[in-house]
C-alpha cells in the first residue's frame, strides 16, 4: 500500500500548480469565513474563537471529506478508465489492498491540508488554539478510520455501477448539514436532527472542536470517543466486505473490464 501512496505522491507533485493551489485555496476560504464570523455575535458558539473557531474545524473536516469521500470515487473511476485498476487485479497486491492504498495519500494529504488551515487561521487571523490541540491528531486519525467506510461504500458503487460522481458530492453536502460542520446541529428541525446521531461525523466534529478550539461538549468526551470507535468497528468491516463483493460481482459478470 505504501508503494501506491508513493505513486500518488509522485503524481500529485508532478502537477506543481495543484500543490500551490491546495495551500492557497484554504487561505481564501478562511478569509471569507473570518469576515462572516465578525458579523455574528450569537451565543451559540461556546468557544474562545466564537463562530470563526467553530467553522474552521468544520472546514478542516470538509477538506478531509472532499478529498476522501468526494474525490475518491472519481479517482477510482479514472483508474478504471486508464486500466490501472486492472494492474491491481493481476498483481499480488490485489484489488482491495490496491484501492485501500489509493486512499492513503488523499487522506494524509487532507490531514496536512487541515493542519495548514488551522495554522493559517491561527497565525493570520489570530484564532486561539487550545492547549489540547495535539490530542486532536489521534482523534483525527480515528475520525479518518470512521470516515473511510463511507468512501469504501462509494468506491464499491463505482466498481459495480461506474458512474456515481454526483452522488458523492450530494453525500458530502448532506454530511456538512447533519454533521454540524457549518452550524450547530441544534439549529436543525427535529425531524432531521436524528440523522446527526447515527453517523460518525457529528462525534468526530464535536471532539475535534473541543480539542482544537476549546468548544464545550454536549456529551462527555469518553462517550463521543466510544461512539467514534463503535462506528469504526461496525462500518469498516462492512465497507471492506461490500467493496470485495462489488469487485467479485464485476469479475464474475465481466463489468470490471468496462468503464
Amino acid at each position: 500500500m505504501l508503494g501506491i501512496m508513493r505513486r500518488d505522491a509522485i503524481l500529485f507533485v508532478s502537477y506543481r500548480t495543484q500543490v500551490v493551489a491546495q495551500f492557497l485555496g484554504p487561505l481564501f476560504t478562511i478569509t471569507v469565513f473570518y469576515y462572516v464570523s465578525r458579523l455574528l455575535t450569537a451565543r451559540t458558539f461556546h468557544s474562545p474563537g466564537g463562530y470563526f473557531g467553530f467553522v474552521i474545524v468544520g472546514l478542516v473536516i470538509i477538506q478531509i471529506l472532499t478529498l476522501s469521500l468526494g474525490l475518491m470515487p472519481g479517482s477510482v473511476r479514472q483508474e478504471l478508465i486508464s486500466g490501472t485498476i486492472e494492474r491491481f487485479l493481476v498483481s499480488a497486491h490485489g484489488p482491495v489492498n490496491g484501492i485501500l492504498g489509493t486512499m492513503l495519500f488523499p487522506l494524509c494529504n487532507a490531514l496536512v491540508a487541515g493542519v495548514v488551515t488551522l495554522v493559517l487561521a491561527n497565525v493570520i487571523f489570530g484564532l486561539p488554539l487550545a492547549a489540547t490541540s495535539l490530542l486532536a491528531i489521534p482523534v483525527a486519525l480515528l475520525g479518518v478510520i470512521a470516515f473511510m467506510p463511507f468512501a469504501l461504500f462509494l468506491v464499491a458503487l463505482v466498481m459495480a455501477f461506474k458512474q456515481i460522481a454526483s452522488a458523492s458530492q450530494f453525500i458530502v453536502s448532506g454530511i456538512a448539514i447533519v454533521g454540524g460542520l457549518y452550524f450547530p446541529v441544534t439549529l436543525l428541525p427535529g425531524w432531521i436532527r436524528w440523522m446527526s446521531d447515527v453517523q460518525p461525523f457529528t462525534p468526530a466534529t464535536d471532539l475535534l472542536r473541543h480539542l482544537l478550539v476549546g468548544a464545550q461538549l454536549v456529551h462527555p468526551a469518553g462517550v463521543e470517543l466510544l461512539k467514534l470507535v463503535g462506528f469504526s468497528l461496525v462500518l469498516l468491516p462492512a465497507g471492506l466486505t461490500l467493496l470485495a463483493a462489488a469487485i467479485r460481482y464485476g469479475q464474475r459478470t465481466g463489468t470490471i473490464a468496462e468503464y
Binding site: I10, E86, G94, Q251, R252, I256
Partner: protein, 241 residues
C-alpha cells in the same frame, strides 16, 4: 539460460521451483463465459493446458473472445463456469499467490501511470508484485536493460512514443519472472528492434520453464516459432498446429 536477480516468489514462499519442461502449468478447464444480453456464450466449455517451456498462440477474428480468455486466465475475470488453476492455486488464492505466477500484458496501451518516469513505473510495479526490497532496484535495472529502456529511464511515460510505451508494458509483464506469461497482442506498435527484444524475452522465459500464451487476430503477428496454435471460433478452441 537467464535467471532472475532476486529469489523467485515461489522460493520465498517455500514452494516447489519452476516446473520441468512439459509439465502442466496453467490449466483452463471447461471455461464458460457469456456477456449480458441475448448473445451466445463467448467461451463455451473451453479447455486448454499450457505446459512448462511451451509457447502457445491463439488467433481468431476480432471480438471472438481471445481477450476474455486471457482475462479469465489472468484472474481479472472470474469464470461463470469452469476453472482456472496453476497447480493447486486458483485466482482467489490468498496472498496473491496465483497472481505472483502471472505476467499479463493487456491489449492496447492502458495500464501505465502517464506522469511517472520509466524507472518509477517499473519500481511501482515491482512493489505491487511484492518483489523483495533487497533485489528491487537491480531487477528494475535489469528489466530496463532487457527491453532497452535505459536511455529513457528518467523520461515521463506520457512523453514517450507508443512503441516505447509498449516496451514498458512488456517489461512490467516480464519483470517479476512469472511462470505464466499471458500476452494480448504484444506486437502492438513495436518496431523491428522491439519485436526482436520481445522474441528474445519469450525464448528466455520458455527456457527457464515458463509457459507463454500469445493472442493476436492474425497469424503473422505471432511469435516466430510456437509449440501449439489454436483458433478461437464460436466459443470453442480449434487446434491448428
Amino acid at each position: 539460460m537467464s535467471s532472475t536477480p532476486y529469489p523467485l516468489p515461489d522460493a520465498a514462499l517455500g514452494e516447489p521451483p519452476a516446473a520441468a519442461a512439459g509439465e502442466p502449468l496453467l490449466e483452463l478447464e471447461r471455461l464458460y463465459h457469456r456477456w449480458k444480453g441475448p448473445k451466445p456464450p463467448v467461451l463455451d466449455e473451453v479447455s486448454l493446458t499450457l505446459r512448462a517451456g511451451e509457447v502457445t498462440w491463439i488467433g481468431g477474428r476480432n471480438g471472438v473472445g481471445k481477450t476474455t480468455l486471457l482475462r479469465l486466465a489472468a484472474g481479472i475475470l472470474l469464470p461463470q463456469r469452469g476453472s482456472v488453476r496453476i497447480g493447486e492455486l486458483t485466482p482467489r488464492a490468498r496472498g496473491g499467490r496465483y497472481q505472483r505466477e502471472i505476467g499479463f500484458l493487456s491489449a492496447g496501451d492502458r495500464g501505465l501511470q502517464a506522469r511517472m518516469r520509466v524507472r518509477q513505473q517499473l519500481d511501482y510495479w515491482a512493489r505491487l508484485a511484492y518483489v523483495p526490497r533487497a533485489g528491487r532496484a537491480a531487477l528494475v535495472a535489469e528489466s530496463m536493460r532487457q527491453f532497452e529502456l535505459e536511455e529513457f529511464s528518467e523520461r515521463r511515460v506520457d512523453r514517450m512514443s507508443m512503441g516505447q510505451r509498449q516496451r514498458i508494458r512488456l517489461a512490467m509483464a516480464f519483470l517479476h519472472a512469472p511462470r505464466v506469461l499471458l500476452l494480448d497482442e504484444p506486437r502492438n506498435s513495436l518496431d523491428d528492434d522491439g519485436y526482436r527484444l520481445l522474441n528474445a524475452q519469450i525464448e528466455q522465459a520458455a527456457a527457464r520453464g515458463a509457459c507463454v500464451l500469445w493472442c493476436s487476430p492474425r497469424g503473422e503477428d505471432r511469435v516466430i516459432s510456437c509449440d501449439a496454435g489454436y483458433t478461437l471460433r464460436d466459443g470453442r478452441l480449434e487446434r491448428i498446429s
